[in-house]
Symmetry: none
Subunit: 204 residues, 4 copies
């Protein structure tokens, strides 16, 4: 069906070109939405011709997928990196959570605009759905392992972590877009941290 071969660039300049397309293309998609961004704009933003885009990517959709991978890897892991060097316990748990929330917010300020736009594609787009699914599992498992390593109560831990991730994710979303004037986000942050601590604490 498709005649044109997709090249995997080997030369340095070509690799840079592919990276630029992913970076600037994904940024545009995040800003304006997938359907409101056309390939001509992506090519222009990346400083390449429209033709070359189709040397490196099967189609427009492919750019999105590659962007998603880059974005998710670059955001999540740095967020919990610092926990490798410390022992999490009752005493520093609050500050660890605070730090993660701050990093979450920091990392997202750049391109998070996309999150929901792309989350939405979950329903109409199999590839995107699979990506998010796997990504969420990975994050949940990574954090569960982290807590186990730090001797947290293992009962239903995976479920607890899942709830916590949702809480942090929602909180950060709102802070980033600061959607509701009626809500005091300092208070909300404290409520959430208290809640997380409560969820993680050993049963009496």
């Amino acid at each position: 069906m498709k005649e044109t071969e997709i090249r995997e660039p080997v030369q340095k300049r070509s690799i840079e070109k592919k990276e630029k397309i992913i970076k600037y293309g994904f940024d545009l998609i995040c800003e304006k939405g997938y359907y409101n961004t056309n390939t001509a704009e992506i090519a222009k933003a990346a400083g390449v011709s429209t033709g070359i885009v189709y040397s490196y990517f099967k189609d427009k959709h492919d750019i999105l997928l590659e962007g998603l991978k880059r974005y998710s890897n670059s955001v999540f892991y740095p967020m919990i990196d610092f926990t490798n060097d410390i022992k999490i316990d009752d005493k520093n748990l609050r500050s660890v959570i605070e730090k993660i929330i701050l990093q979450f917010i920091d990392n997202h300020k750049l391109s998070q605009t996309a999150h929901e736009e792309i989350t939405s594609m979950t329903h109409s787009d199999k590839d995107v759905a699979v990506f998010f699914h796997e990504s969420e599992i990975e994050i949940t498992n990574t954090i569960t392992d982290l807590l186990l390593k730090n001797n947290f109560n293992p009962t239903d831990l995976k479920e607890k972590v899942h709830v916590i991730i949702n809480l942090v994710d929602d909180l950060c979303h709102e802070i980033i877009y600061h959607k509701h004037k009626e809500i005091d986000y300092n208070k909300m942050t404290n409520i959430i941290i208290d809640t997380i601590i409560n969820i993680l604490k050993p049963e009496k």
Copy 2:
């Protein structure tokens, strides 16, 4: 410039037609995504001609908005309806939350497919953004009032309610789509109910 008037149907058959366009149109949009659903399909699904769509709606976008209103009204209010007739207290709080969660899930099975698809449009679509914003405030306020009426601790109540809504919303989402095989959703539900009760309980 644009002279074509948007009719508000008065005859019974016409009203049904408009409703069908909203219903089937919105369903299609939810299933396949807004950009992947075209007006011809919407008309066909509703059993009408493309022309009539533009008698009742300004444009395709307008169908989405009308769908959103129907969806949000028909989902949220029935969910808490039963609370008008009872007094919520420490003893029945758990069962009330359980009931709301069950209703939430029930109501959403029909059309919730849309939620993220359309949430996503928040970023590229002013009208959709405004709609969601107002809708979320309304829900938060309604539930806050409900709890105040039932003598719950008013400290930071709005923020607490907001956190709780997020928790329930996320939980239901996952249950409806049952995204993660690794997660035990019975356990997760219990964790969330415990968490909600903990959030709402008076400070010591």
Copy 3:
């Protein structure tokens, strides 16, 4: 091919309806252009339903044609009506021309907006072309006869009248729309009257 019979209305109310469609429809066409006026608007302006329009007219085009007939009859003949009662000679020629120009302008203020819009259709519309052709001949002949009756020099009179009609037509057009700020239309009127008198005067 066409099943629906075009009715010629006989009842008074029906005749009035048909007249209203012609009047208000043609007015709209003149104001906004034939292609920018739709039948729904015409029906609304005439205070009738869209359906009834197609009882009295074959199609939209037919309304234009009927409007043209009314317009040309109602505009041209009143303009030279008064000349039936007087004798035109060298002494009153100037004032007769002035009077005709004034009447021309008066008559056109109402609906002349159309003239060029519809003139244009000459090229793409056979019926309109025929209408204008016949109308122009009729006017030329009527005025030629009028002048002959008043003993003007018959040499090349038809051609002279044709030139004169063009001159008056152009002048009135410009005055009605007052297109050019750079032109002094009092001066231009005088130049044209002088020119007409010169054209009509007997050769030496």
Copy 4:
């Protein structure tokens, strides 16, 4: 909102393509009318795809405007070009006018079909109105200057020139379309030339 850029073609083949769209598009519009010519036909006539039309033109309307410019420039200036090299005076005035009339007719045979079609748009189309307005002023001024340079009587000269242009324009129109069988156009031409000479001659 609209991101698609209009390209200005630089390559020879592209320039030719753009020119072809203007030429064949304008020709079609002239023949069949603006509203009766669709972009698919224009593209086909020009031997290009519909898409490329929108690379070089903002919209269909833009093609018309470009066509108008080409047409007006290519018609008017060549018409009076020869007058740069000669001195116009009482002796050659008649032959100069004759020559201009002949050139006018020659030049228009190609595309004048459009004139009234497009003139008509004056009423419903701001851009077209402005174009014609400016074009008429330019022509009047150019000819006025030409006559002043040749020492014609400057009294009310601009108004006189305006009347003369109308006369010639109407004459040529009729000759080109040869509308009226009853009119002898040789006689009419002579009447008009006499009239022009009379208008331009110094007052006694």
